[in-house]
Every structure is written in C-alpha cells, then in structure tokens.
C-alpha cells in the first residue's frame, strides 16, 4: 500500500515537472515570438519614419529651389542673381539625390509609381525654372515673372500634387476611398504620429527646418558656401 502511494506521488511529481517544463517551453516560445514581432514592428516603423523623412526633405528642398529663385527677381546685381541661381541649383541637386535614394519604403510598386510621377513633374518644372533663370540673368525680369506666373507656378503645383499623392500612398492609402472611410489625402495614423512627434519639437526649430538639426545645419552651411 505504502509502495503504491510512493509510486503515485512520484508520478504526480513527474507529471507536475513535465507540465512545468511544458509551460516554460511554451512561455519561451511566446516570449520569443513577441520579441520578434516587436522587432519587426520597430523595423517597420523605422522604415516608415525614414520614408516620411525623405518625403519631408523633398518637400523642403523643392520649396527651397523655388523660394531662392524668387530672391533673384528682387535684385539687378548680376553677381547676387548668380549666387541665388547657384543656391537654387544646389537645392535642385539635393532633390535629385533624394528622388534617387533607394529607401525600402519608396521602393514598393505603389510608392515607386508615386516617386516616378513626382520626378516627371519635377523635370517639367525644372525646364521652366531654367528658362526663368535665363531671363533673370539676361535682365528681362518682367518676362521672367510672366513666364513663372504662366507656366512655372502651374508646374510647381503639379509637383506638389504628385508629392501629396505620394504621401497618401506611403501611408498605405488606396487610390479610392479607404475601408476606414477616409480619403487618401487624409492623414493616416502613422503620419498623425509623425506630425504629433513634430508638434512636440520646439517651434523655433520647426520654423527653420523640420529636419534634424545636424542635417539642417549641414544644408545651411552648404548653401552659404
């Protein structure tokens, strides 16, 4: 009788030990999967963040190309006009680099199409920009303003529209209205997060450049060079 009790107790212990081991093993598997999921989510967020940064930089630099060019209209000094034209061209070079950047988020089929449409619109605008530059340097400011108003502004707006469409696609938007009832132009959750992150930044920094200070400083120093 005592022997039977001892066997039963041993069996119970063995069962409990096996159950404990099973629970531990399952816990380890679940913990590992959770960690993997967290890592994947982190990587995904970083890629989205990187994509948004690139779009943000493209927005900033394309604006710079046009803004600096407008300065050249406000002087008749050929040397200063040439300085502004050079600055506009260097901003143009940075836009070209950004458009050619191989970020994974900008390399999906949907975002690639958006990027190509931005690049095409940008090339169109640059043709007009170059003509405006020529007229400015030749001293025909009135004609330059007229050409920019007639064609340049419309082409630049086309670039902005293409960028807006690209942003919507980066957010995971569809061509038509989405399942959540929002239109592609409306901000997605990720962009809201990014915007809220930017809203937390000091306002002075945002006014100068929405990018990281080191990058903004680098761009500023390259412009002053």
């Amino acid at each position: 009788m005592r022997r039977i009790q001892s066997i039963t107790r041993s069996a119970t212990f063995a069962l409990l030990a096996a159950a404990t081991l099973t629970v531990l093993a399952l816990g380890w598997v679940v913990a590992r999967d959770l960690r993997r999921s967290a890592d994947a989510a982190g990587q995904l967020y970083e890629r989205f963040g990187e994509g948004l940064d690139i779009i943000d930089d493209i927005l900033f630099e394309t604006g710079e190309v046009r803004r600096i060019l407008l300065y050249a209209l406000h002087t008749t000094d050929a040397n200063r006009q040439l300085d502004y034209v050079d600055q506009s061209r260097s901003a143009e070079g940075r836009v070209r680099q950004l458009l050619d950047s191989r970020s994974p988020i900008l390399s999906t089929a949907r975002t690639r199409a958006a990027r190509e449409s931005v690049a095409a619109a940008w090339t169109d605008y640059l043709q007009t920009r170059d003509e405006v530059v020529g007229l400015i340097l030749e001293g025909s400011l009135t004609e330059a303003v007229s050409l920019d108003e007639r064609i340049g502004a419309a082409r630049f707006n086309r670039v902005r529209s293409a960028k807006r469409a690209g942003c919507a696609r980066t957010d995971g938007g569809q061509a038509g209205p989405r399942a959540d009832g929002r239109h592609p132009g409306e901000p997605g959750r990720l962009r809201e997060q990014a915007c809220s992150r930017r809203r937390q930044a000091p306002p002075g920094r945002m006014k100068v450049s929405p990018r990281s200070p080191s990058r903004a400083t680098r761009c500023r120093s390259s412009r002053t060079r």
């Binding site: 050929a78 530059v133 340097l137």
Partner: protein, 173 residues
Amino acid sequence: MAAARPALIALLLSAALLAGVETRAQNVAAPAFVVIVNRSNPVDNLTFSELRRIFMLDTQTWPHGRKITVVLREKGQPDRTDAIRIICGLSERDYERHILFRTFQGSVNIGPRSIQSAAAMVRFVFSAPGAIGYVKTDELDPSVKTLRIDGLLPDDAGYPLRRSLRGRAEGDW
C-alpha cells in the same frame, strides 16, 4: 670723355633693345581671350567686326532671335580693360561713355552685365542662353561653348584676341 660717349650710347641702345625683346616675349606668353556662349546657342563662328558690333551693343539679337546679353568683368579689373581695348578698340572710359550714350538714345535697355570672376562668368554664360562673355584660355570650362573668331580658335596663328600682359592686342606691337 669723347671716346666714352659712343660706348654709352651703344650701351643704352642695347638695353632698350633687350627690353623690347623681353616685352615681345611676355606678349607671346600671355593667354588669349576666348569668347564663350551658352551651349544651346547655334552660332559657332563670328567675324571680328560682328564681335565688335555685339560688344558695342550695335547688334542686340542672335540670328535665332534670342536677345544678346554681353557679359564683362567688373569695372577696374584688368581683364575688363583688356577685353574692351582688344575687342572694341576703346579705353574703358570711352566704352562707358558709348554705353551711356546708347542708353540715353533709348536703343539699349540693359547694358553689359558685370561679373566679378572668370568662374562666375562661365557659370553666368552656362545659365543664360543669350549670353556672350570671355575668359582666358586657362579659365575655360567645357560647360560653355567656345566661339571661333574669323574661323580661328585661340591656338591658331593669327587669332585676333591674343593679348599681351600690357593689355594690347598682338597686332598693336
């Protein structure tokens, strides 16, 4: 004393001759001016008189209809004085007077544009389709087009825009 006088004259004459030879040597060594235009400009060759008319603002449009923009170096720079003297045959002051006269006549809206450096001149001509400027041969850049003058390039003998360190064309010597 009387015997020493011919020797002194001979010494002075030989010194003057040596100085002349040296000046001619400097003249040959000085880099020539190259006339540059935008790469989109279909013109490849100008006669010297056509070039002079352009720089004097007597001709103000290219054959394809684009307005000509003459680009010079800034006032007081030797390259400006040299170019005006070689191309227009005028001193800088006379050239300014001529431009002022043409402006008051109403036949010129904007005079030549003044640029501070050769590199800036090249960048200007690169960006302005109707611009015409000049640089020295050693300041030339492939982003702009070199014009032949009377069918000649700076390396050819008889090129009319060869200059001396004194700022005179080769023909003046």
